[in-house]
Symmetry: C2
Subunit: 343 residues, 2 copies
């Protein structure tokens, strides 16, 4: 904080463009193509801007060690297959999922607007980011989007003894007339792995129902979860059913791996799950009658009438506005590390 101020922003605050450029340099420096670097940098910088710190620059070491291990192909060129009037397949070719989505995105929007609904099935892909950045832009174009991605074995199906499912998030975005789109992104696990790690470091206990120890017994001790234990699904048998659905949609339906199928043991440092992702995009103008965005604004209004103070996603929009005003705050040490990685 004692660094000299050379502009209207303190050196620890970056614009979105500055952070994106820095991250792009880092990705390129560590073996990705320029195209892949651009997509990943944009995704990661937007997460950081919105205060999604668990999926912001915090992820950079995991990206780089996965690239260094030759587990994920940073040069992959996705292959888009136009299968039917509402169905697109993409083979991500062992690369990241976001460039695969970017390669098919325009065709997906065209199909959704023409057919009323379209599905994008991505396989052979690595998804290491938040899921909301994949759906939110569709809502900004007036479309409704739903996405699921499976990940890596760490969640015990309800009624089972050992982990099988990934944290398997579900993300949804819909346009809203009065303000930001309605967006949520929720893991079907009871808690994120990162939060368990933080609790373990701080010596805090967890609420009941978050995880089990290595013997499959319920525990509130985060260290026992990390020491060969596992997470539980959120909401008992219901969250477990949804996590199962994510495996079916993101893997069985795309041709990708289930969360328990890939073996990265020969790639020390690998952290990115090699699975699949499904996106469904709907054009609400096809539903006729009242404007969808007006109707969703009415739902939001009524949610506030019954006492809701914060919509899902509101915290991100607040952080975004702050970052747009004052720049994206970065610790000096963190920024120095990133700059060193870019050299």
């Amino acid at each position: 904080m004692s660094q000299p101020v050379t502009s209207t922003q303190a050196p620890e605050s970056l614009s979105l463009g500055e952070l994106t450029t820095l991250l792009q340099q880092i990705f390129e420096r560590h073996g990705t193509s320029s195209a892949v670097a651009g997509v990943l940098a944009d995704n990661c910088a937007r997460a950081q801007r919105d205060g999604s710190y668990s999926h912001g620059v915090f992820r950079i070491p995991g990206y780089l060690s996965s690239l260094a291990s030759n587990w994920v192909n940073g040069q992959a060129v996705p292959v888009v297959e136009d299968v039917a009037s509402g169905f697109i397949r993409v083979d991500a070719a062992g690369g990241f999922a976001q460039p695969a989505l970017a390669a098919a995105r325009q065709l997906l929007v065209e199909k959704a607007r023409s057919a009323g609904i379209a599905v994008l099935a991505i396989r052979n892909s690595h998804h290491f980011a938040a899921l909301w950045p994949d759906v939110e832009p569709f809502a900004e174009e007036g479309l409704v989007a739903l996405s699921v991605v499976n990940s890596m074995t760490c969640v015990v199906p309800h009624g089972a003894h050992k982990p099988l499912f990934g944290t398997n998030p579900i993300a949804f975005a819909a346009p809203c007339a009065d303000g930001h789109p309605i967006v949520f992104d929720l893991a079907t696990s009871a808690i994120a792995h990162g939060d368990v790690q933080i609790a373990a470091r701080k010596g805090h206990m967890l609420p009941a129902g978050m995880g089990v120890d290595k013997h499959g017994e319920p525990t509130e001790n985060p260290k026992e979860i990390l020491d060969g234990g596992a997470l539980l699904p959120f909401g008992g048998h219901k969250g477990s059913a949804l996590s199962m659905m994510v495996e079916l949609l993101a893997a069985a339906l795309t041709g990708g791996n289930f969360s328990f199928e890939f073996d990265w043991s020969k790639h020390p440092g690998a952290q990115t799950p090699w699975t699949g992702q499904l996106l469904i995009v709907i054009d609400p103008t096809k539903s006729g009658g009242n404007s969808f965005a007006q109707r969703s604004a009415e739902l939001v209004r009524q949610m506030h009438v019954v006492g809701l103070e914060r919509m899902p996603g509101d915290r991100r929009f607040i952080e975004r506005a702050k970052s747009q005003e004052a720049g994206i705050p970065m610790g000096a040490e963190e920024l120095a590390k990133l700059r060193a990685l870019a050299e």
Copy 2:
């Protein structure tokens, strides 16, 4: 029981065909068209056969009082609109949702097989049944189906003080090579209203987190929930987000009412929610590569390997097999009441 046995089945056991015929007579006797009666009778009899008692003949009085109150139109003829290669709208014309689905079903399957995915948006409809019967038949034809329906205000959004959402179920069905389809049907409320009523009658307390009293305070007393209180979503903010998504998909996207929008105060006896329903059907053969049904069977196999004893839906399939073997068991008094209603 001591009744005389006049056939190989005791009089308290009916075949699916016998129960369906009896229920069809009841619906027709109480003002529905023959077409509507056939659809509702089939739905209700199948629920009873599968041991889904809360959505079997238990629902008949609610159906009949709603019809008698002129709240729902038992003679309604659904209007199907073919909007795009993947999008169908149906105006249920103030009738039940199931005949609206039946009217559009063949077109929906054709569109899903042609476009790869198709959506059916039903509005101006009353859904008073279980949701799994709407999706399971698609899986039996090799398709993947997802449906959501909103209902009536009884669930407090997470972070709010008063109820707004309905119990808003989500149902999913997918083909599976080795045996029954994979099917689940879950309310996004923490507990079903029927289970609260049963607990109140028995004088049992509920687990924590199921509902609130009329002041919005958490309670484990089912009587306080019923006396002006409300239910909570399952799984805290995550289940609440999913319930919100159901409102957006089943109402905003279809042109139907939100769960809080209809007013049945001038129709004493009305029990059926006047809302909307969305179905999404996907043809997994478009995904190429391995057979989807083989892949889902592999997921089920691995779920059993990690210790799962019962899949979602297994209880229904077990009850179904029993009913097919020995007939659908019916109490003598219950059956006499049904027969009286059919006269």
